[in-house]
Amino acid sequence: MKIRGFAHKYGADVDTDVIIPARYLNVSDSAELAKHCMEDIDADFVKRVKPGDVIVATTNFGCGSSREHAPIAIKTAGVSCIIAKSFARIFFRNSINLGLPVLECDGVCEETDKGDLLEVELATGEIRNVTKGKTYRAKPYPEFMLDLIKVGGLIEYTKQKLDIRRR
């Protein structure tokens, strides 16, 4: 699966409160949540973001609350992939479970400017900054996680497991 989109750039410790403030958590509707994605650190994000775009950041992306509303809002806003130096663990799990690819990779954020065109090959973990002509290799997923991503997330994965048990 190949991803192609323009970069939105953030720094370290982007927390789930700024990704989707709690004042909007009184609903669970994905489209409603997406309307307020990144509102408190980047008020124009929702207006700028185009389907397929990529978020790049440095360390500890998605720290704080366990709210799955955060990756739901990002995914529904149109973002196809997040590349960061590191992710907070609950956010990482949530994203994988939802089928939102998140890649750990050094150097990408530092060398990427807002609006650069990025290409990501999920199977190999290869990240290309087309604008700058640079290539990177993300930390590979463990096999189990690849399986999980392949079948479309944790619910599908669990469904298959339950089906096997029922047989």
Binding site: N26, V27, I41, N60, C63, G64, S65, R67, R93, F144
Partner: protein
């Protein structure tokens, strides 16, 4: 093996597990709240199952926007309540429960040796009981509710050792804020934090819960205290559930060991907008405030209310300050009532409410306007956490919060109590 590895090994049927290993873990307890349960229930339905794996091991608690703050939050709470009835899960109605992280240990539902997963990041609070308690998202919790199992990556362990004797007015909140200030908000990313040292020996369970509660603020998966007599006394008085005491091996492998001499430690304040931006009280300067919040799963326990009341007794909050006090559970509310603490707060000019997460996450009951500053005993001070993105939250202990309410600026209790 470390404490985390011991508990996880016992729940995977393996003799030994090692950091980095991916394992399927049996869970003893699963929890969700009024914000996270609606999505968990939606995902549970997608699995095509009609029943949760064991209704006596699934707990649902309205806490964040409860008593409901608006029509939408009432709808979410209703959805959760109806699911709890349908499934026969354990459910605590508004007015009979409180904030899950304080409530569940109090009700004896979490005991030493448990693996407990909850759809709330502060589920790690129960690590103080020597239980592997960790927060996850709604989809993970849906699968745990359905199957009683969940995948985990065995975390590496960071050992934190505290030496010395704490100064007067220095509490466990100051220890954990100091620790996060030292190691950073990702200093324990993916890790288990294991708390040790002579400085922690006499700590009450209430104080331990505060430290474990904020383990996630350093990025940790779990914040564990080894079980001792203090733990067992707490558990025996509250629970009939069988528990297991695990101890870290003497030759356990720690990824990192941090030793802190806390003898001269001052009360700590975390400045906006990260819990790691800590300063000792003496270096805070003159910071005028608009609001004080004493409560939350971090510091809304009876010990916290007693301490705050002891400082506010016979005094009055500064004329430009709103002080909001919210007990973390209804049991604490009742205890505060019986001890006359509520009278003290109300006489001091504070607002006192039934148990809820309230302002901690900017839900309601004390949302901040643009430019306002709040001293809060809660756990997070991110941008917009308590309201307007241009408001500020300063994290502190209940003692500092109470003193600040009286003086109308960030202040220590020594300035108020003579």
């Amino acid at each position: 093996m470390t404490l985390a590895e011991k508990i996880l090994a016992a729940h995977t049927g393996k003799k030994k597990v090692a950091p980095g290993e991916l394992v399927s873990v049996r869970v003893d307890l699963v929890m969700a709240n009024d914000i996270t349960a609606p999505i968990a229930i939606r995902e549970f339905r997608r699995l095509g199952l009609s029943r949760v794996f064991d209704p006596k091991k699934v707990v649902l608690v309205p806490s964040h926007f409860a008593p409901n703050k608006d029509i939408n939050s009432a709808g979410q709470a209703k959805l959760m309540r109806e699911f709890a009835r349908e499934q026969g899960c354990i459910y605590f109605e508004q007015g009979q429960g409180g904030i899950e992280h304080v409530l569940l240990p109090q009700k004896g539902m979490v005991v030493p040796g448990y693996v407990y997963v909850g759809a709330d990041s502060h589920t790690c609070t129960s690590g103080a009981l020597g239980a592997f308690a960790t927060g996850m998202g709604s989809t993970d919790i849906a699968v745990a509710m359905a199957t009683g199992e969940i995948w985990m990556r065995v975390p590496h362990t960071i050992k934190l050792v505290y030496h010395g004797k704490l100064n007067k007015w220095v509490r466990s909140k100051d220890l954990i804020l100091y620790t996060i200030g030292q190691i950073g908000v990702d200093g324990a990313l993916y890790a288990s934090m294991e708390f040790h040292g002579d400085a922690l020996k006499g700590l009450s369970m209430d104080s331990r819960f505060t430290m474990s509660n904020m383990a996630v603020e350093a990025g940790a998966k779990v914040g564990l205290f080894p079980v001792d007599e203090v733990t067992l006394e707490y558990v025996r008085a509250r629970s009939k559930r069988p528990y297991t005491v695990y101890e870290p091996d003497l030759d356990a492998q720690y990824a990192e060991v941090h030793e802190f001499d806390v003898t001269n430690l001052e009360p700590q304040i975390a400045f906006p907008h990260l819990p790691s931006k800590t300063r000792p009280l003496s270096q805070v300067g003159d910071i005028k405030i608009d609001q004080v919040f004493i409560g939350s799963c971090t510091n809304g326990k009876i010990e916290d209310l007693r301490e705050a009341a002891s400082i506010m007794r016979g005094k009055y909050v500064a004329p430009w300050v709103r002080c909001i006090v919210i007990p973390a559970s209804n049991e604490i509310y009742l205890q505060a009532l019986r001890e006359g603490l509520i009278e003290t707060f109300v006489e001091a000019g504070a607002a006192f409410s039934t148990s809820t997460c309230g302002p901690c996450l900017g839900g309601y009951m004390g949302v901040l306007a643009e430019g306002e500053r709040c001293v809060s005993t809660s756990n997070r001070n991110f941008v917009g956490r308590m309201g307007h993105p241009k408001s500020e939250v300063y994290l502190a202990s209940p003692a500092v919060a109470a003193a600040s309410a009286i003086l109308g600026r960030i202040a220590g209790p020594a300035e108020v109590v003579h």
